[in-house]
């Protein structure tokens, strides 16, 4: 037998060849890169991290100053901005996506039809097109400061953004917060107690309404009792400017709108598929046992649908986070915009800057995937 016919030999040779090729390519790349960098006089390493950035960033959650902050600070600002828009986007997209997904299955054909066409249209248009539309055709096309549209709660909307009252917690507001958190703890406690009591005696408690009451009442009562220790810095329209209050910039709003509306269409499909995955027989069996429709939903349909929904839902969350990098196109200072945009331009250190940016997204993605795999292995239906 010729050794070439031995699959082990073949596999060994093939892999050896593959390693050689990849090794050669890497060697060439490194060699060329060091050549090119030297010739173009581009620095290497992370030395730039602590040098002053010297450019402004329009929105920051931490202290950032054009003159004194470093590239490292700029990185942090960008990262936090990415996480901010992703977090808010995920919450809103989930709410909208579940609503549309459930509406898609409505018996009311008008509701179902509108949900269907929402999904169809939004999923078939590039996100970038939608972002540009929201930014250029809607938010930037709003009237200027002088003709601001007045909204409820002394808010204004104009082409510089959404101006809203800024809450200023006064003395004693801490107690309102404390009351709220105590109430949250109490609500959790009540749920546990209600479950235990039901197990013991069979009696059911109105968990939903009690939780709602606990979330609203204690904090409101304390608030009123302390004479409303929260004042608002209300934005006031001047001739050329709006002073006071806080502003959501059009860049942020456009990105948020775009991401939420786009991702919600995908989440809606995920939700619909998840609900449809629970067979009709499950509902019928529950009904035949005497369970009311709302209990059937809570005890039979939701737990089964959620198993189907959660993995693709997570990947939609990841997509939203990755898509937030389209911030570049509307000028929202997220990580990709600040770092692979301005910082890269100023330092020219492409390898480091792009590398670091990729590493951040990669960490988020792989971390989430790992969590997901763990969840799947735990929750997978036990089957023969």
């Amino acid at each position: 037998m010729s050794p070439w016919n031995d699959p082990r030999v073949r596999s060994f040779v093939f892999q050896g060849f593959l390693i050689l090729v990849i090794g050669f390519l890497i060697y060439e790349a490194v060699d060329n890169a060091s050549d090119n960098l030297r010739r173009q006089r581009i620095a290497t390493g992370l030395g730039f991290w602590d040098s002053p950035a010297g450019f402004p960033i329009s929105q920051s959650m931490i202290f950032y100053s054009e003159t004194s902050s470093s590239y490292g600070d700029a990185f942090l600002v960008g990262l936090l901005n990415t996480l901010l828009v992703a977090a808010i986007g995920i919450v809103l997209a989930t709410v909208l996506g579940f609503t549309v997904g459930i509406a898609r299955l409505s018996k009311n054909i008008l509701v179902a039809g509108i949900a269907r066409w929402y999904i169809e249209i939004i999923r078939n248009l590039p996100l970038l097109l939608q972002l540009l539309f929201w930014y250029n055709a809607v938010l930037k096309a709003l009237p200027g400061v002088r003709e601001s549209a007045a909204l409820p709660f002394s808010s204004f909307l104009n082409n510089r953004g959404l101006f809203m009252p800024k809450p200023l917690p006064g003395a004693g507001f801490d107690y309102v917060l404390i009351a709220f958190f105590v109430a949250v703890a109490a609500a959790i406690g009540f749920r546990i107690w209600a479950r235990r009591r039901q197990e013991r005696t069979g009696l059911q408690a109105p968990v939903g309404s009690v939780t709602l009451a606990l979330l609203i009442l204690p904090a409101s009562l304390v608030y009123v009792a302390l004479g409303g220790p929260l004042t608002f810095d209300v934005p006031t329209a001047g001739r050329f400017n709006i002073t006071g209050g806080m502003v959501l910039q059009p860049e942020f709003l456009a990105l948020l709108f775009g991401l939420v509306i786009y991702t919600a269409a995908f989440i809606a499909e995920v939700v619909r598929a998840g609900i449809l995955a629970v067979s009709r027989g499950q509902t019928e069996a529950a009904f035949a046992l005497g369970l009311r429709p709302n209990l059937t939903t809570k005890l039979v349909i939701v737990p089964q649908a959620m198993r189907v929904i959660i993995p693709p839902l997570t990947s939609q969350y990841l997509n939203l986070t990755k898509n937030s990098s389209l911030a570049v196109f509307v000028g929202y200072p997220d990580l990709a915009n600040v770092f692979t945009g301005t910082v890269l331009n100023q330092t020219g250190q492409a390898i480091e800057v792009v590398g670091i940016t990729m590493l951040v997204y990669l960490t988020i993605s792989l971390g989430t995937s790992a969590l997901m795999n763990w969840y799947n292995s735990r929750k997978a239906l036990v089957e023969r």
């Binding site: 013991r200 059911q204 499950q282 009904f287 369970l291 023969r384």
Partner: protein, 259 residues
């Protein structure tokens, strides 16, 4: 059944002599007339087997009894309560009527025990311990108490169907409906399910059973009903029904299933 019934288990008794009464029941799916002028009275403790060709409306008939399907004309009265759109009455009737499906319809995300205790806990508001005791009682009766902590996916078809029967029994129903309980099973598992049903019949449970298991019909049925094209074509005691089928369609059907 030698083990004594646990605390939460009250013997269920129908209050009326007539368990189910259907008077001139008609049902349509869109334009399709699926049940035509059904008149059927089932007495307390009676065991009725319904047979007939596929698509003749057998499932629809028994699903009307616990309002999984709505009828459009006629009256259905279950243990003295007429089925209307009144949710309270539907609840009441569903609590009293158990149903076993062709495809078991066990809840795959719950253990066998949780499948059995779900409705007692949430509908009958039983304490968990009592519900579990009741569940174990019936699981013992269907001879699979040792599977209680497994999930449905880990059981064979026959075992799953016995769990489904136990799950219904946990609500102490007064009437049991069976919709082809053995036709999704491998042949070697049919007997274990039928044995369970025979035992139930012998205790005097009122039953309507859609099945083509003629041996079972002979053994336990008080009456066999043959349906075709959405109507009752022939009804008789099993002896007469099999010995001397009178309608031509019945004869044709019997010759097909008995070879």
């Amino acid at each position: 059944m030698t083990n004594t019934a646990p605390a939460g288990l009250k013997p269920a008794k129908l209050t009326h002599e007539t368990a189910i009464e259907m008077i001139g029941v008609n049902k349509w799916y869109g334009e399709f007339h699926v049940l035509r002028d059904i008149d059927l009275t089932i007495a307390r403790g009676e065991r009725v087997v319904v047979c007939g060709p596929s698509g003749s409306g057998k499932s629809t008939l028994i699903r009307c009894v616990n309002r999984l399907e709505e009828h459009q004309k006629g009256r259905i009265i279950v243990d003295g309560v007429e089925l209307t759109n009144d949710l309270k009455r539907i609840d009441e009737i569903r609590r009293e009527v158990g149903m076993v499906f062709q495809h078991f319809n066990l809840f795959p995300h719950l253990t066998i025990l949780e499948n059995c205790t779900l409705a007692p806990i949430w509908v009958k508001k039983m304490p968990k311990k009592d519900a579990e005791e009741v569940a174990m009682h019936y699981l013992t009766r269907v001879k699979i108490p040792e599977q209680a902590l497994k999930y449905p996916g880990q059981l064979s078809g026959g075992q799953q169907q016995r769990v489904a029967i136990a799950r219904s029994l946990c609500m102490s129903p007064k009437i049991m409906l069976f919709d082809e309980p053995t036709s999704a099973l491998d042949p070697e598992m049919v007997k274990e399910v039928l044995d369970t049903m025979v035992a139930l019949a012998e205790e005097g449970m009122t039953m309507i059973c859609v099945t083509h298991e003629m041996g079972f019909a002979r053994q336990v049925a008080d009456r066999v009903i043959f349906m075709d094209q959405g109507q009752i074509v022939e009804a008789n005691t099993p002896d007469e029904f099999f010995r001397d089928p009178r309608h031509e369609r019945t004869r044709l059907f019997l010759s097909q299933i008995l070879h």
